[in-house]
Every structure is written in structure tokens, then in C-alpha cells.
């Protein structure tokens, strides 16, 4: 037996062992298992969101839920198994939820659960009354995730038709949960009517209606002239009645009566 083969085999096996991945490397990434995407239906059944931290090489300090980036109050715990229950879900409960885990001297980790719902329009004007030539503004606000696409329509012959901006007076501003339809320089012949805002997302659709009325500048003129005529007729009747009853009397100016009295005495 030569003395050189045993040390080289030892070196080679040590080298091989050192090349193997160490026991800590596989545990750098914590893994979280979630309950998955949820859609709020109608009727709305209770929803429970679940996150389970299955493997982590670091010590967990605390964990909590966020909705759309904002931490939910009273959800902070120290547990690897997180649950968030919504007993009566409504459209505004939809959004992007994260379960967030904070570790001792390690970056935090989170997982996403999407809660989707059909849009619900929470704010709109029932009616808008403006004068001719003024500007009208109609809006709709919604809640619901994902954010809807907005369409404005107008009722013509009983059906809701898309709005054609032929006159260039219509302006639409669409934001995530808000839409605004502005009409400049209202025309009394074409603009009055029923306008509808429609919100649609991947889950469902919802719409609300606003009635636009345009007042004419001349509208009060006819009642005004009518009342004027009535008053003139009344005054004429009163004066004529008096003159016919007492044609010899000149009723005004007590001074005249005074002179008459003195001449009688």
C-alpha cells in the first residue's frame, strides 16, 4: 500500500461534499400557500381568506392583512396561519388583499388574494336642471374590483344608444371608480333626455340613470304675460264698475271734497 492514494481520495471527497448545496440554501425563500381568488356572488355568501406560511428559515415576528395596500386594523398577529373572514361581503369589500409576514432580520414576504365583485354604482345625480347655454355635469361613482370600464349612453326611442359627439360639446372623463360626462352650452332642442352611465368589469355590470332638463330663457315669459293681462282686466273691471255705479262722482283728492263741503255750508 502506497501512502499517497488515501489523502487524494479524501481531498476529492471533501471537494465533492463542499460543492453540494448546504443545508440552509434551500430555506432562503419562505413559501406561502393561499386559498386562491374569490368572487363575491349574489346572494353574497361569507368569504374566508387563508394564508399558510409553510416553510421559513427565519423567525416570524408578526403578520397582518392589507387591502389595496392599507393595513387592516386588528388583524396583526404572530401566527403562520392567517385567516380573514368577511361575513356579509359587499361590492366595496372587493379588492387586492395581501397577507404580510415580517421576520426577524429578514425581508418581509407576502402573498396576494384577489377578491372580485361586480361593480356597484354608489353615487350619481338623479336629475340635472340647467338653463339654456349653461354647462351640465353628470357623474357616477362606483365601488368594486377590478375597476370597471365606463360607457355613457342616452335614451333614444326607448333604447339606450351610445352618445355621438357630433357637436363637439360632450366631454367624458373616466377614472378608476369615477366617470364624468360634461355637456357645454346646452341646447334646448337636442340635449334634454335620459342619460345612463354603465360600469362593466370581468364579473358583471351595473348602470344608473340621470335625467337632464334644459330650461328655456323664455319659459317664464308666458305665465308672466298671462298674469299681467289678468291684472289689467281686473283693474279695468273695478274702475268701470265704480264709474257705472256712480257716474257723477269724482272720487279722488279729499281736498276737492273739502272745497265742496265748504261751498255747501
Amino acid at each position: 500500500m502506497s501512502g499517497s492514494t488515501l489523502p487524494s481520495a479524501l481531498v476529492i471527497s471533501l471537494l465533492l461534499v463542499s460543492l453540494l448545496p448546504g443545508p440552509g440554501a434551500a430555506q432562503n425563500e419562505p413559501s406561502i400557500v393561499t386559498s386562491g381568488e374569490v368572487t363575491i356572488g349574489d346572494p353574497a355568501l361569507p368569504i374566508t381568506l387563508q394564508c399558510n406560511l409553510t416553510s421559513s428559515s427565519h423567525i416570524l415576528t408578526y403578520s397582518y392583512w392589507t387591502k389595496n395596500g392599507i393595513e387592516l386594523t386588528a388583524t396583526r398577529k404572530n401566527a403562520s396561519n392567517m385567516e380573514y373572514r368577511i361575513s356579509k361581503p359587499r361590492a366595496e369589500d372587493s379588492g387586492e388583499y395581501h397577507c404580510v409576514y415580517h421576520f426577524h432580520s429578514a425581508p418581509k414576504a407576502n402573498a396576494t388574494i384577489e377578491v372580485k365583485a361586480a361593480p356597484a354604482i354608489t353615487g350619481h345625480k338623479r336629475s340635472e336642471n340647467k338653463n339654456e347655454g349653461q354647462d351640465a355635469m353628470m357623474y357616477c361613482k362606483s365601488v368594486g374590483y377590478p375597476h370597471p370600464e365606463w360607457v355613457w349612453r342616452r335614451k333614444e326611442n326607448g333604447l339606450f344608444m351610445d352618445i355621438a359627439n357630433n357637436s363637439g360639446r360632450f366631454f367624458i372623463i373616466n377614472k378608476e371608480n369615477y366617470t364624468e360626462l360634461s355637456i357645454m352650452n346646452l341646447q334646448i332642442t337636442e340635449d334634454p333626455g335620459v342619460y345612463q352611465c354603465n360600469a362593466t368589469n370581468s364579473v358583471g355590470t351595473h348602470s344608473e340613470v340621470t335625467i337632464l332638463r334644459v330650461r328655456s330663457h323664455l319659459a317664464p315669459l308666458w305665465p308672466f304675460l298671462g298674469i299681467l293681462a289678468e291684472i289689467i282686466i281686473l283693474v279695468v273691471i273695478i274702475v268701470v264698475y265704480e264709474k257705472r255705479k256712480r257716474p257723477d262722482e269724482v272720487p279722488d283728492a279729499p281736498k276737492e271734497n273739502q272745497l265742496y263741503q265748504q261751498s255747501q255750508r
Binding site: A219, P220, F224, I231, L234, D252, A253, K255, Q261
Partner: protein
């Protein structure tokens, strides 16, 4: 119709009552309902609430301070042309207001122009009414003044509906047309020549003689004191109720209850004023004292039933004192000088009205609740009735008269002016 006659107490007088009814509705009903326009003006001109409320204040001030002018003109020309001209002015003011581009424009058109129109209508009409009646004067007054209460009920919702349909410019146009009915009311004021007219003289002479008339001056002081306390509940009752914890809707309902009992009080007091023997001044003292007492009791009452009962009492008694206050004047100064007398009284008592509400508000700010302001209001009313007791013939059993059938006001043409001056 004979020249130089006695008050007819009926006949065409009832048409004058009708005219006065519509006039008080058109003048005070419109003024009281003006708060409906308030929100519209604030939004349209972007001005703070305090500046917008000046519109109504200027209108009221011009109407009251302009009353002597209306009276003097009526003495000279008779009530009919003056009231018709006033109606035209009031309507013109509203018409111009519908074209307003700034708040100052509204101050001038509604405040100044319409205010002057109203000054030329209300006082001459009441004075004319008291010339047409002597036995039934209080009843006629009471009936005519119910126009104020009823119109407040009707006009506020009407204006609100008009605003939603026509916007404020269109509504002002229509209010102008409605106000023009004052002209038709004026046409009904057929002039009457009464026995004492020649002795009374022209407006200048009348004003001079009135200012030297002791009882008249005391009466004016009394009415000013009464006026200072009179309006306080209307202005501050709702706030006081909210302080006690009432909701807005029941509080507003209580105001309606007061308005109804006010209406009943006016008519009942009018009837009573004619039926009861002796000077009408005693009834005025009765109602004024009761009103003062009910006002002073307001802070003491805490339970809802007590407050409602007090509100009904206040409404009834304050409504009751109004027609009697007006119908007392011819007794004092004679129907010949009634126009000027009424104008002067309106002008002076309006000072009380202007002071009353701010004083009450100041007391509230200083003391923290409305107790002091209600009590002070009651004190003012009691002081007014105290001054009234000093009027001549107060303790007589019946009105002293010269000859002829019993009626209120002076009896014979032999100078009433000299008789009353001799009482100083």
C-alpha cells in the same frame, strides 16, 4: 254717497278688507318667504350668507321707514293712486332683480325699489280700512291681517316649486307679476270722505299736530317697546328648542302650531275688540301682558307638553294684540289723521323690531342660553303695556262721546283736535 259721512261699517268696506287681506299677503308673505331664495343667491353670486340676508333686511327697513311717506302721500292724494303706484314700484323692483348680475343690483332693486313700493302700499291700506269701519273696526283688522299668516303657508312651497322649475331669474319674474296684484288691490280702495277730514288739514299740519299729541306719543313708545319683544320667539324659538334637544322637524312643526294659533288669535281678538265695552286700549293691555308672561315662562318650561301649551298661548296672544294695536289708533287721533298717525307709528316701532333680534342674540352669546333673551322680551312687552295704562280714559267704563249713536272715534265735527289736545 253723501259728502262728509260716517264710517260705513260694511258695504264697500268689506271689499277694502279683501284688498287689505291680499295686500298683507303680497307684502309680508313675499318678505317672509324670501328665505327660499337665500340658497339660490348664495350659490349664484358666491357671496357669504350674511351679505345675502341684507337683501331682506334692506327691504324691511325701507318698507317701515318709508311708511310716513306713504301716509303723507295718501293724506294728500287719497290711498288709491298711492297704493297703485306702490304696487307698480314693488313689481318693477322684482322685475329688475330678475336681470341682476351682482348682489348690489339686488340690494337696489329688491331692497330699495320693492321696499319703497311696499312702503306705499301697506300703511295707507290699513289706514283706509280703519276709516271704513268704526263699530267693526277690530274685526275688519283681524280678518285683513290673517293674510300674512296664510300667505306664509302658501308662498314658501310655491316659491320653492317655481325655483326648481324656472330657476331664480324666472321665479323673480313671476313673483314680480304676482306682486303686481297690489295694483288691483289698490284699485279697490275707493276713497271715503269722513266728517273730520277738513279739520285734520294737509299732511304737514297733521304731522305737526301728531307730534304734539301726548297720548299719541305715549302710544308710539308703547308700541315700540312691544315690537322689541314681539319678534324674538320667531327668530330664536327653533334655536332654543334645538338647545333643549328637539329635532328640527318637530321644532318646525311647533312654529306652524304658533302660526295657526296666531291666525285664530287675530280673528277672535278682532271680534272681541268690537264687542267688548270701553276703550280698546284695555284689550291691548290684556293681550300684551299675557304675551309678555308667556314669553317669560318659556325658559321655565322643560317638558314638551308645557312648551307646546306655551307656544299655543304665545301664538294666540301675540296674534290677538296685532289688530287691536292698529284699531286703537283712530280712537286716539281720529280717523282724519289716521294716515299720518299710522305711518309715524310704523316708522318708530320698526326701531324696536330692528333692535330686538340682535339684542336677544347678544344676550344669548353672553349668557350661553336663551333664558335671558326670552325674559327680556317678556319684560319689554310688560313695559309696553305699562305705558299703555297711562293713556287717557283708560279706566273709564265707556268711551266718552259728544252726541249721536255710539261709535268709536270722535263724534261730532266740532274740532276733535282741540278736544284731544286739551287732555295733555
Amino acid at each position: 254717497m253723501a259728502r262728509g259721512s260716517e264710517p260705513p261699517d260694511g258695504g264697500w268696506g268689506w271689499m277694502v278688507v279683501l284688498s287689505a287681506f291680499f295686500q298683507s299677503a303680497l307684502v309680508f308673505g313675499v318678505l317672509r318667504s324670501f328665505s327660499v331664495f337665500f340658497v339660490e343667491f348664495v350659490a349664484a353670486f358666491g357671496e357669504p350668507a350674511a351679505r345675502v340676508s341684507w337683501i331682506a333686511s334692506i327691504g324691511i327697513a325701507v318698507q317701515q321707514f318709508g311708511s310716513p311717506v306713504g301716509s303723507a302721500l295718501s293724506t294728500k292724494f287719497g290711498p288709491r293712486p298711492v297704493v297703485m303706484a306702490g304696487g307698480v314700484l314693488a313689481a318693477l323692483g322684482m322685475l329688475l332683480a330678475s336681470f341682476a348680475t351682482s348682489l348690489t343690483h339686488l340690494y337696489l332693486s329688491i331692497g330699495l325699489l320693492s321696499g319703497s313700493g311696499w312702503a306705499l302700499t301697506f300703511t295707507p291700506t290699513l289706514a283706509c280700512l280703519s276709516r271704513y269701519f268704526s263699530r267693526l273696526r277690530s274685526l275688519a283688522m283681524g280678518l285683513a291681517l290673517t293674510g300674512v299668516g296664510l300667505s306664509s303657508f302658501a308662498f314658501a312651497p310655491l316659491f320653492q316649486w317655481l325655483l326648481s322649475y324656472y330657476a331664480w331669474r324666472g321665479t323673480l319674474l313671476l313673483v314680480s307679476a304676482i306682486s303686481l296684484h297690489l295694483v288691483a288691490c289698490g284699485a279697490l280702495l275707493r276713497p271715503l270722505s269722513l266728517t273730520e277730514d277738513p279739520a285734520a288739514g294737509g299732511p304737514g299740519a297733521q304731522l305737526a299736530s301728531l307730534l304734539h299729541h301726548g297720548p299719541f306719543l305715549r302710544y308710539t313708545v308703547a308700541l315700540t317697546l312691544i315690537n322689541t319683544g314681539y319678534f324674538i320667539p320667531y327668530v330664536h324659538l327653533v334655536a332654543h328648542l334645538r338647545d333643549l334637544g328637539w329635532d328640527p322637524l318637530p321644532a318646525a312643526f311647533l312654529l306652524s302650531v304658533i302660526a295657526v294659533s296666531d291666525l285664530v288669535g287675530r280673528v277672535v281678538s278682532g271680534w272681541l275688540g268690537d264687542v267688548a265695552p270701553g276703550p280698546v286700549a284695555r284689550l291691548l293691555v290684556l293681550w300684551t301682558t299675557l304675551t309678555g308672561v308667556s314669553l317669560a315662562l318659556f325658559p321655565v318650561a322643560q317638558a314638551p307638553t308645557a312648551l307646546v301649551a306655551l307656544a299655543v298661548a304665545y301664538g294666540f296672544t301675540s296674534g290677538a294684540l296685532t289688530p287691536v294695536a292698529f284699531s286703537m289708533l283712530p280712537e286716539l287721533v281720529g280717523t282724519g289723521r289716521i294716515y299720518c298717525g299710522l305711518g309715524l307709528v310704523q316708522m318708530v316701532e320698526s326701531i324696536g323690531g330692528l333692535l330686538g333680534a340682535p339684542l336677544s342674540g347678544y344676550l344669548r352669546d353672553v349668557t350661553g342660553n336663551y333664558t335671558a333673551s326670552f325674559v327680556v322680551a317678556g319684560v319689554f312687552l310688560l313695559a309696553g303695556s305699562g305705558v299703555l295704562i297711562t293713556l287717557p280714559h283708560f279706566f273709564c267704563v265707556s268711551v266718552p262721546q259728544a252726541s249721536g249713536p255710539r261709535h268709536r272715534g270722535t263724534g261730532s265735527p266740532s274740532p276733535p283736535a282741540k278736544e284731544e289736545l286739551g287732555e295733555d
